[in-house]
């Protein structure tokens, strides 16, 4: 266990150091979520007036939850791009040679993705509060909201790292991004489920992101619903993607890195 954690710490440190010292990596990760928040909450605030739309703490909070979860997922995916770069440059071989327990490498990437997202989430929250977002939930509710987002972050990274370790080339980029994008957007992004078009409502009901999103919104509104189910779903997804990622690691090892 100690060796896994030491490897993880070293890998995470490197990822975070590179991310925060390279503007071209840092800035998009911060700017894009803010941009989406602005575009959706600012440009679509009128949707609040759509008949049947009822969200007690306003459209800004409604969109904040989506953007929070979206930024968490994509922080994981963009960390996956870093993993691909490590393969393409050959640096991954250095990590594999040095790590006594290579599972620590995946864990390190996980910590790196989390660290990256924590900064983004902090900035996003400050901006949301600054523009007057209403918050109905208490401290426990908000803690649960962010905890849910952390699990989404883990899912994003574990999915992306599994793809990266199997393909080991930048061609993996679209494969990493597109499913995450589709999962996020085939969900009640702009309006609650009940107001979606029929075909999208059907897909949204099958999409686990819908449960996470609606629970997150209920937490920020202070009217927590389906929290246990949402966490169970998120934990199960983390479990599934962990297996995906670790099997990817084995494939990468078999291919020589």
């Amino acid at each position: 266990m100690r060796s896994i954690l030491s490897v993880a710490g070293a890998v995470a440190w490197r990822m975070l150091h590179n991310n925060f010292s390279t503007p071209s990596l840092l800035i998009p990760g911060l700017v894009f979520p803010l941009f989406f928040f602005t575009a959706f909450a600012g440009g679509l605030s009128r949707v609040n007036d759509v008949p049947g739309f009822q969200f007690p703490v306003g459209y800004t909070a409604f969109q904040f939850v989506f953007v929070l979860l979206q930024s968490a997922a994509f922080a994981g995916v963009f960390t996956g791009f870093g993993i691909v770069r490590d393969f393409e440059s050959g640096f991954i071989r250095r990590l594999m040679l040095a790590a006594p327990d290579r599972r620590g490498i995946v864990l390190g990437y996980l910590f790196g993705a989390l660290g990256r997202w924590i900064v983004t989430a902090t900035v996003l929250t400050i901006v949301a509060v600054a523009v007057g977002m209403q918050i109905g939930g208490n401290g426990v509710d908000l803690f649960a909201l962010y905890a849910l987002a952390v699990l989404v972050n883990f899912c994003g990274l574990l999915w992306a790292s599994g793809v990266a370790m199997r393909l080991r080339t930048l061609q993996a980029g679209p494969i990493m991004q597109l499913p995450v994008f589709l999962c996020l957007f085939f969900a009640p992004v702009f309006v609650p489920v009940a107001l979606l078009a029929h075909w999208l409502r059907v897909i949204a009901h099958l999409n686990p992101v819908t449960l996470l999103l609606e629970t997150g919104r209920s937490l920020i509104a202070g009217d927590a619903t389906h929290v246990a189910a949402a966490f169970a779903t998120a934990v199960a997804l983390v479990g599934v993607f962990s297996v995906w990622a670790l099997r990817g690691l084995r494939k990468a090892e078999a291919a020589g890195g």
Binding site: R46, V50, L196, A197
Partner: protein, 257 residues
């Protein structure tokens, strides 16, 4: 060899290169429509807002894929041109009797060819899913022409970025900028229904709003002279500016005697 023949050969090469990179043409054909599906599914209830100009959100939103598709075509082609500079292929062409104008025209010709195919595809999909053009068949033709003009205008800016920077990464980094112009616009709601004032002002200052509104007017209104004049005028102005600047950039890049 005549200028027209040189343009033909270089344009043909441009098209061949695009076709041999499936991600560069499949993605622009699929992704804008996927996003359209998601947005229309998510926002169809917005048609119930008082003053919404159409009872079909699909018809309202059909303009979007033309603009986003143009964006993809531009960035992809710009990256190809930047790669020519990075690999030294531009020097190889410069050593032939090729006129420098032929290079730009050939490059833009390739972008136009792909843009035209994309526009036809979006029109076809729109008709298949039941969108009725209030301006009739003639209006659909005008949509096609305007869409091709927009591709040309955006394409010249993509070429400008490639010629100025000679870097594929720099051209890729344009994508988020174009994205901002696309989202901070009347893409999702008509400008008069955007509640947030700063957003409405920004959308009103954004030339992309008028391109979207020109196409949209042909779909949901009929013949709106003002919208068409603004849309065509802005597209032509963008094309002139883009072409002028990229011609100057080409002159600087190909400093041959």
């Amino acid at each position: 060899m005549s200028l027209a023949a040189q343009v033909f050969y270089l344009g043909r090469r441009s098209v061949i290169r695009i076709l041999r990179q499936p991600a560069n043409w499949i993605f622009p054909l699929v992704f804008p429509l996927a996003l359209m599906a998601v947005n229309t599914g998510g926002l169809h209830a917005a048609t119930n807002l008082p003053g919404f100009p159409s009872d079909s959100f699909v018809a309202f939103f059909l303009a979007f894929p033309f603009i986003q598709g143009a964006l993809f075509a531009t960035v992809n082609a710009g990256v190809d041109l930047a790669r020519d500079i990075q690999t030294g292929f531009l020097n190889r062409l410069a050593l032939t009797p090729m006129r420098s104008g032929a290079l730009l025209a050939g490059h833009l010709g390739g972008v136009l060819a792909v843009g035209a195919l994309q526009a036809l595809w979006y029109l076809t999909v729109g008709l298949v899913i039941g969108v009725r053009f209030e301006s009739g068949a003639a209006g659909a033709l005008v949509v096609f022409l305007l869409a091709v003009l927009i591709v040309f205008a955006f394409g010249s800016f993509g070429a400008l970025a490639a010629l100025r920077t000679g870097s594929t990464e720099a051209v890729h980094s344009l994508f988020p900028l174009f994205f901002v112009f696309l989202f901070i616009s009347s893409m999702n709601l008509p400008r008069n229904l955007i509640e947030t004032e700063w957003f409405r002002v920004a959308a009103s200052l954004n030339p992309v709003s008028y391109l979207i509104e020109a196409i949209r007017s042909l779909v949901i209104e009929g013949w709106n002279a003002e919208a068409l004049a603004l849309g065509f005028g802005i597209a032509i102005a963008l094309a002139i500016v883009g072409l002028t600047l990229s011609s100057l950039a080409l002159r600087g890049r190909m400093a041959r005697t």
